[in-house]
């Protein structure tokens, strides 16, 4: 129960941070730091795929309601949530059944960086590819994906250092 309340607090906090501050930062008009994916990245390693996918979908949907992009964040985050378990297995050498919370303490800095790099890249690629349906500028798309992935990584890493232990 306490766990659920704690999780809801993070849910609301990350949504507000994302829509009120991070989405308003337009660095060159092409960089969006998607910090709210941190919510999905911090789920325990044994969390079931169904649980992850449902949380991902609803978190994405709430962010969509704020950004007037119905379906875009929901589709991308559901996809990230679905592949999260596989990504985690890819970067860690631990036993599959081991139950731990992905973070610097459990994974170590190099593996954690690899984990957030792969996750951010996956999310940003899906999101920006859906976004670009309206206009095809390949060069702009590549730059956007690269820049947003790096910005997302940086934000997630900072969040992990500042408050990651408490989730």
């Amino acid at each position: 129960m306490i766990n659920l309340i704690n999780r809801l607090k993070w849910f609301v906090g990350l949504v507000l941070l994302q829509v009120l501050i991070l989405n308003k930062m337009h660095i060159n008009g092409c960089v969006i730091p998607f910090l709210y994916i941190y919510f999905i990245l911090k789920f325990h390693s044994r969390a079931s795929r169904n649980e992850l996918v449902l949380w991902g979908f609803f978190l994405g949907l709430v962010v969509d309601m704020f950004c007037n992009t119905p379906g875009m964040n929901a589709a991308s985050l559901t996809c990230l949530a679905f592949f999260r378990t596989s990504l985690l297995r890819l970067v860690t050498l631990r036993d599959v059944d081991d139950d731990f919370e992905p973070g610097i303490r459990a994974l170590g800095v190099p593996a954690f960086l690899k984990y957030i790099l792969l996750s951010s890249a996956l999310f940003c690629t899906i999101f920006l590819c859906i976004d670009t349906f309206s206009f095809f500028h390949w060069n702009v798309l590549w730059i956007k994906i690269l820049a947003s992935t790096l910005a997302t990584m940086l934000c997630v890493f900072c969040a992990e250092i500042v408050g990651g232990e408490k989730l």
Binding site: C30, S48, F57, N68, P70, A74, C79
Partner: protein, 280 residues
């Protein structure tokens, strides 16, 4: 049968995943085609309320710039009024003429003041949310302008909030003309910079040069003639070579848009009805 059930149970996460993705894409494509999904946008009451609250807080940080803009605009308008008054006095000796012209210019339009409470610039389809809705008289397809010039068109309205399609959206298509020579084309966005838009379908024989001012044409019944849009920055050939493609630097700075005005032409519905009937 048991095998089928086992199969379904074993791969249930795949089915859930596919189901949620399908729902997401239905929402995505429905919103692009259909204007009814107020619940899933920032014109819904909860989301609008959060943005309004945040806007009230951040509004204080921009008061200085807003005041400076207003003062500048006030001064230029005052100078312009004075010059026009002088000119009019030279041509006519009728002292009530100015008041009459002012009344005629405004009586054709209903105006509603509103505040921008949410704004995006980074997507391919950007939207603005304003804090006025149906109860304040806002309806779909009304025009939105700011002190500097054109902003966009109302897309959805709930009871207290509305979502506006600004020029910075792939759906935006507004009829514009060159102020000096009256040749017209359609203003749209190429998805690159929030400071520039493109006027397409400008005829090859049109008289146009760098630095010309682009204004709304007034053909669409959404905007009056002459709402400032921007300045011509570059002229090139369109892909098919049949018309000009004009790059326009927009007067409206979308990154710090706060106060806007929603306008509606009286008798607009009559004009639209007539045009629709003619098309059928």
């Amino acid at each position: 049968m048991r095998n089928l059930l086992n199969f379904l149970l074993k791969y249930n996460h795949w089915f859930l995943f596919i189901l949620l993705e399908v729902i997401s894409f239905v929402l995505l494509f429905r919103f692009n085609n259909y204007q009814g999904s107020v619940f899933f946008t920032s014109s819904n009451a909860l989301v609008g309320g959060v943005y309004e609250l945040a806007g009230q807080v951040t509004g204080y940080f921009h008061l200085k710039e807003t005041n400076e803009d207003l003062m500048q605009e006030n001064v230029s308008l005052r100078l312009q009024t004075e010059a026009l008054r002088e000119a009019l006095r030279e041509y006519t000796n009728d002292t009530t003429a100015i008041e009459r012209i002012r009344q005629v210019a405004l009586q054709e339009y209903d105006m509603y003041k509103a505040k921008v409470i949410n704004n995006s610039l980074i997507y391919s389809d950007n939207y603005l949310t304003i804090n006025k809705g149906r109860e304040d008289g806002i309806r779909e397809d009304m025009g939105v302008i700011s002190g500097n010039g054109l902003v966009g068109i109302v897309y959805q309205a709930s009871d207290h909030y509305s979502v506006v399609i600004p020029v910075l959206n792939s759906k935006s298509n507004i009829s514009c003309k060159v102020k000096r020579s009256e040749y017209f084309g359609f203003l749209s966005w190429d998805g690159i910079s929030s400071e520039y838009a493109i006027v397409r379908d400008m005829p090859r024989h049109s008289v146009i040069s760098l630095g010309d001012t682009i204004v709304t044409s007034g053909h669409s019944a959404v905007f009056p003639t002459g709402v400032p849009v921007g300045i011509v920055e570059d002229i090139s050939d369109s892909n098919d070579g049949l018309s000009y493609r004009v790059k326009v630097k927009l007067f409206t700075d979308y990154a710090r848009l706060k106060d806007v005005c929603v306008i509606e032409k009286k008798g607009r519905h009559e004009q639209e009805e007539l045009e629709n009937r003619a098309r059928e």
